[in-house]
């Protein structure tokens, strides 16, 4: 209990410390690194040029390419829109008042410390990724996940350093949401998760279940008890500090629609790539996407 109170107190004081009120406020953002960004863009361009063709080759085992008839409706299945909108609004306010100020303060820590924290949590996430890759019967990425976990936990000093990526074994996360997608479960209604943002019913369930898995396995005793009360908030702050999304940065009254549209299309496109078998039935053209 004491540690929980301490964690809450820490969050609140951090938030108040960085809180911006009044008619004029200045927030220090992470510096831009244009030179490095250009280098990264160059590399991405070279990778794209070397990448596979856009339409799968015949006989690649993926089934026939998608056609216009496979495209879901432009409308999105959102039966809980009113509730979702108010959660979205709540999230925006919470983000502004608590989340961002805390993330700002967190960013004052030296870069090596922050990347150590980030690598540490990324490494822990390989556990859930490995389990889910196995459940998806996707052996290659599963082995990659396991390999990363072993390499980074040992050579990377308990995950503080991402040695695997420098050995050209990049990490790609997965979770129960994707496992369900692989076995044909539809995303279901659009759902804005409190604090965490856009999701679907399936993926929210997956998120909670993945956390439950971690909590139950309680690897190294990191998820339960006092350690858990310290690490879980730190994990969340690290996540926020590494996410550039800003509520209402579009300034637009249609931001909710835009985010929903893009989020659900992204999910559906991922699903197309994940699904175990080529879908036999086409979506009914009038059904909103995600239903």
């Amino acid at each position: 209990m004491r540690s929980r109170r301490a964690a809450t107190l820490l969050l609140v004081s951090l938030a108040l410390g960085g809180c911006a009120t009044g008619d004029f406020a200045v927030r220090t953002l992470p510096p831009e690194t244009p030179a490095a960004d250009v280098t990264a863009a160059l590399q991405a361009q070279q990778q794209r040029e070397a990448a596979s063709p856009i339409v799968p080759a015949a006989g690649s085992g993926l089934g026939p390419p998608l056609t216009d008839a496979d495209v879901p409706s432009m409308r999105t299945y959102d039966p809980w829109e009113r509730m979702n909108r108010s959660i979205y609004r709540f999230n925006a306010r919470f983000d502004e008042a608590i989340f961002l100020p805390v993330a700002d303060q967190y960013r004052r820590l030296p870069q090596p410390v922050r990347s150590g924290v980030h690598n540490f949590f990324s490494n822990l996430s390989e556990v859930v990724s490995f389990i889910n890759y196995t459940a998806q019967l996707r052996l290659a990425p599963g082995v990659r996940s396991l390999g990363r976990f072993i390499i980074n936990s040992t050579l990377g000093l308990g995950g503080l350093f991402d040695v695997a990526t420098s050995m050209h074994i990049p990490g790609v996360r997965t979770g129960l949401g994707q496992t369900l997608a692989r076995w044909g479960v539809h995303p279901g209604p659009y759902f804005v998760m409190p604090f965490l943002g856009p999701s679907t019913l399936r993926d929210s369930f997956g998120f909670v279940a993945d956390y439950g898995t971690n909590y139950t396995i309680n690897l190294g005793g990191l998820y339960q008890g006092t350690v858990g009360w310290v690490l879980t908030p730190l994990n969340v702050v690290d996540l926020r500090a590494n996410t550039s999304f800003r509520y209402y940065s579009t300034g637009s009254p249609f931001e909710y629609d835009t985010v929903r549209f893009l989020y659900v299309r992204r999910t559906l496109i991922e699903d197309e790539a994940l699904r175990w078998w080529h879908r036999a039935g086409k979506p009914a053209p009038e059904a909103p996407a995600g239903q």
């Binding site: 690194t33 799968p56 390419p65 496109i269």
Partner: protein, 435 residues
Amino acid sequence: MRFTRSLGAALALTHLMAAYSAPAPAPATGLADSEALRATVYGAPPQDLAALPARVPLEEVNIALPWARPLPAVLWFDRRLRAWFSAQRGAAPLAIVISGTGADGNTTNISLLRGALYGAGYHVLTIPSPTFPGFIAAASSTGVAGDLEQDSRDVYAVAREIVRRLRPKVEITEIDILGYSLGGAHAAVVKWLDASQHELGIRRAVMINPPVSLFDSMERLDQLFASSIGQGDEGFDQLYRRVYVRLANYYRASDQVRVEDTNLMGAAAAVLRTDADFSAAIALTFRIALVNVFYTGDLYAGTGVISDPRHPPQPDDATEAVFRELLGKDFSHYFDQVFAPYYLARRPGMTREALYASSRLDLIGAALQADPDYYAQTNADDLILDEAELEWLRARLGSRIVVYPHGGHLGNLGERRQVADMLDMLGGRWAGAAR
């Protein structure tokens, strides 16, 4: 088209009236040009970019402005204007940068300009376009965007207010202003306003790919929308299907299953292939900007085209149907249904034709010609200009304009040559295009 330029102001006005009543202004120079379209969509390739600094500090400035109109419930999040500031350590000149149509003060284009300017030793303050919904709500004195002079007055007031707050913290030796696209026109008008009000003492202004007639440029983009996407839902639906199918097949074929969080739009741009695709992407970008301007303008002006002024929309109301309805409305709808009714009611003696004409840079034509501190950079194949407008700029600015052969609209922003010339202009070292 060319002859109209040589006629006097009265005749020019007649010409404008003709342009207004006729269905369409003259076609732009680069609309049918593959290279111009491609450059406009993708921007300068990374290998052609000017050298940029390793690190640019960045602060977000949030400011509530006393003259803002009462905030509608649906825009609750736009109470304070957001601008961005990068400070040098010591005394330095300040460059104020204004974004293009519908854009925030922190876009990719802004980042390129900020990097170049900061690297050249400027403090950099970047301000959203007065057509950005966040600006319209937090900083516009009318809420009805699109009037060149009025919008520029609002930008000028915002710049004054922010600079006043920054002065105690940073030492500013001189102030220069620049903008890209529509922001270029605003930058020049702000300098013109400052020349009589002397509040900031703006030294030089650089316009990057500016429009000459804001409304004619908008109508050209509407034509592009009509020809590449078409009217009504069907054309838009087809575009969506085309992009979706290509993206989904791309991800199925690649090993990568996670679509990167921030990059769905980037990925979508990567699957565009034909001129029709590029045209549609450009047209859609501007149309979405217009959707926001239309919606907020209607809300503030109380014209009742979209929102019933007696029952103002609430934050939890569904908006998708409204959005789709607005996608089908072009600039002439906005002008006829919101803009003209609002301004005609407030400017006695003003006619529709004069209102339309007042959106031209003619407003500051004399200053552009006489004052050697105005500069411009544009491209011979810019999508938003026609030949006559390009000639108009050349005639006003003489050796103070550089016209690059290629680049479409902003497709060469950030390139070595563009950046070097821009810095020469801003620093007073420009010796003309034929060096």
